[in-house]
């Protein structure tokens, strides 16, 4: 069912045009090369895929459904809206596709311990889950501010046996969690595998994460052909670092008729200075091992970001998305906190599906786009995760519970 060819590969150094690369401290260069080598070797090994795809099917619950959201379509008016239901995966978000892949790689390399950064906690939960299944020690780095707003996920990780380490440095959010995980990895790389959560970071992570997530787009493409008899006109995904976006969009890259749309977090508005829209508002810079678009000041100091969703609250973006944007293959859109909150309620009321706040950004933009299109057209939206983890934030926003913070 799945195509295992690696298309649109980066160059040998991990560059997508001028973006990407491996801007890492010397100590990490060899460990990164070891992972790259192990990845290519595994990817060429039928047994690796047999085990990976079996886990994706019987443990994760793939293929996830493609759902024709007729009630939402009627409420919005315009193109037919189809939702790729990554929210129905085990652990509740697409993140598990990647942690299964990297977890298998870690085991193959004989590593006894895994570490990860997490923003919303979904990648942390997915990593802790795989670590539990494989019997590996697991440490998760999470910004203290994110821990407060995603407490249910913190507790889930602990229940799964992971040690959640609060990060207080910098802005105490996702970028600082990455810094802290990198600092730990430098000291522990001999026995530790860093399960990186998004399609960013130093080569080979952008490639690895993309490849492990392309199941999303490959399934959606086949399901859309099957159900609607044609390809979608537009494919829409939210973008923080870009893991669910690369997963959904990559398999459509060579379909010239399909518009690819990345939805960034506009926070309080793109002109407010308080957002996480690195493609729309950033410039080329170097952070966390790769050259990409960054939100930074004139002197290259990386700026704090704002989004109501912890998973999008990141000042960079995957280098391949930066490249696709520069090449004109990727369209940008952005949803504010308010847009996302409204879209969450709309989807919940119309379809009985509570999306994650991250995915709600894509729902909001996808609905806007669908509205401007004809009824015989199709908008495919990646519903990357479920909203259970966000209930505190939502209830506070609606004024149903006291805001303790």
């Amino acid at each position: 069912m799945y195509n295992l060819d690696i298309t649109h590969a980066p160059d040998e150094g991990g560059h997508f045009g001028k973006f990407g690369g491996r801007f890492a401290a010397e100590t990490l260069m060899q460990p990164l090369k070891d992972i790259e080598e192990a990845f290519y070797e595994a990817w060429a090994d039928e047994d690796f895929h047999a085990e990976r795809l079996d886990l994706l099917k019987n443990y994760v619950g793939r293929a996830t459904p493609l759902y024709h959201a007729k009630q939402l379509t009627a409420a919005v008016g315009g193109a037919q809206i189809y939702l790729k239901r990554e929210d129905l995966t085990h652990t509740g978000a697409h993140k598990i596709n990647n942690t299964i892949g990297q977890g298998l790689l870690a085991r193959r390399m004989g590593k006894k311990r895994v570490i990860a950064e997490t923003g919303a906690g979904q990648h942390g939960v997915a990593t802790a889950t795989v670590a539990a299944m494989f019997g590996m020690q697991c440490d998760i780095y999470m910004g203290r501010e994110d821990m407060a707003r995603q407490m249910p996920n913190v507790l889930r990780m602990r229940l799964l046996g992971a040690n959640v380490i609060p990060v207080d440095s910098g802005t105490a959010t996702l970028k600082d969690a990455v810094n802290e995980a990198l600092r730990n990895w430098v000291a522990t790389c001999e026995d530790t595998f860093y399960i990186f959560g998004t399609a960013a970071g130093p080569h080979p992570y952008p490639l690895l994460v993309r490849q492990f997530h392309t199941v999303i787009g490959q399934e959606a493409r086949a399901q859309c052909l099957d159900q609607a008899g044609r390809l979608p006109d537009v494919a829409v995904a939210c973008v923080g670092g870009g893991s669910n976006a690369m997963g959904l969009l990559h398999p459509f890259r060579d379909d010239a008729s399909v518009r690819l749309v990345a939805v960034e977090a506009a926070g309080y508005g793109l002109e407010s200075g308080q957002h996480a829209a690195s493609l729309a508002k950033g410039k080329a810079g170097i952070l966390h091992g790769n050259l990409t678009f960054l939100l930074e000041d004139d002197e290259g100091q990386v700026q704090g970001t704002h989004s109501i969703s912890a998973g999008l609250d990141y000042p960079g973006v995957g280098p391949e998305l930066a490249y696709m944007f520069e090449q004109g293959r990727l369209e940008l859109d952005a949803s504010t906190d308010e847009d996302a909150m409204e879209a969450l309620q709309l989807l919940t009321r119309k379809e009985g599906i509570i999306p994650a706040l991250e995915s709600s950004h894509a729902i909001a933009a996808g609905a806007r786009i669908a509205k401007s299109m004809a009824a015989d057209q199709i908008v495919l939206i990646n519903l990357s995760g479920r909203g259970d983890k966000d209930m505190n934030t939502v209830f506070k926003h609606l004024g149903w519970v006291e805001d303790a913070s």
């Binding site: 150094g13 401290a25 600092r183 960054l294």
Partner: protein, 275 residues
């Protein structure tokens, strides 16, 4: 003024001088602008008195390779409003006071990248820097900076670590000049030093490959005793977190300066002692 490229580099002269004196070089590190620009100026001048080479850190919002002590230094400097122009001005002040001191600007790629490596190199050279050490630009990514540094006569200091294979050592040595900075441990700045014998063996091995390029050892040197041990088998001993650690210990400039001077003098003595 004569062409700076045609002269032997100042860093080479520093190591030659130390060799003649039969000792290892003391390479002292402080973050520019920590805890504020005026205090930083006094501290850099005080450390320069005792150092053969001064590493001036360029503060960055995300110092991924640094431990808590130097992370805090970066945060204090940025909090106090330190700009890259201040880093150059501080460099110039130290240079004017110490014509023979080696000066290396150390930091992360995004700060010079944001300015553009050409302009950055020109300003660094004009301020009196001899070399540049960018933690997150390995040899493989050198084409974003190598030509600019070379054009302006700046040495590119390369890092090597315990994980560096022979292939990587050769790669780094091929694009390094000035000296090689050997990171003594798999870890961040200010961590505990590893097994001294292992460090010595690796340094010896690197020197076989490095083709006469001096090798300095850093990350984790905290006591004069360690400095003396490292000095016995290296061309230079880098002390960073230990010096930076004095800054949050006192609230007035004179006290920090005093403590730093005492500590630097004892490190300077240590690198000249026979292990």
């Amino acid at each position: 003024m004569s062409n700076p490229i045609a002269r032997p580099s100042r860093l080479a002269a520093v190591f030659e001088r130390c060799k003649q004196e039969g000792r290892s070089a003391l390479v002292g590190y402080l973050t520019a602008g920590d805890p504020d620009v005026p205090t930083s100026e006094a501290l850099l001048l005080a450390l320069a008195e005792q150092s053969d080479i001064l590493e001036i850190g360029m503060p960055f919002s995300d110092p991924m390779a640094d431990g808590p002590v130097i992370q805090a230094a970066s945060e204090r400097a940025l909090e106090a409003g330190t700009h890259i122009a201040d880093v150059f001005a501080l460099t110039k002040t130290v240079r004017d006071a110490h014509p023979d001191l080696g000066i290396v600007l150390m930091g992360y790629a995004n700060v010079p990248y944001a300015m553009g490596f050409d302009i950055f190199s020109e300003r660094a050279k004009a301020a009196g820097a001899d070399g540049v050490l960018i933690v997150d630009i390995p040899a493989e990514e050198g084409n974003i900076c190598d030509a600019s540094l070379k054009q302006h006569g700046l040495d590119r200091i390369m890092l090597l670590s315990p994980t560096s294979t022979d292939e990587r050592i050769k790669l780094a040595c091929a694009c390094a000049s000035g000296f090689i900075y050997y990171v003594s441990l798999n870890g961040i700045t200010g961590a505990d030093m590893g097994d001294m014998q292992g460090i010595q063996d690796k340094v010896k091995h690197i020197k076989c490959i490095s083709n006469d390029l001096p090798v300095c050892v850093g990350f984790g040197v905290k006591t004069p005793g360690q400095a003396t041990q490292v000095a016995a088998f290296s061309d230079g001993v880098v002390v960073g977190s230990h010096f930076v650690g004095h800054i949050p210990q006192a609230d007035n400039k004179a006290d920090i300066c005093g403590a730093l001077s005492v500590s630097a003098a004892s490190m300077r003595k240590a690198v000249g002692a026979i292990a």
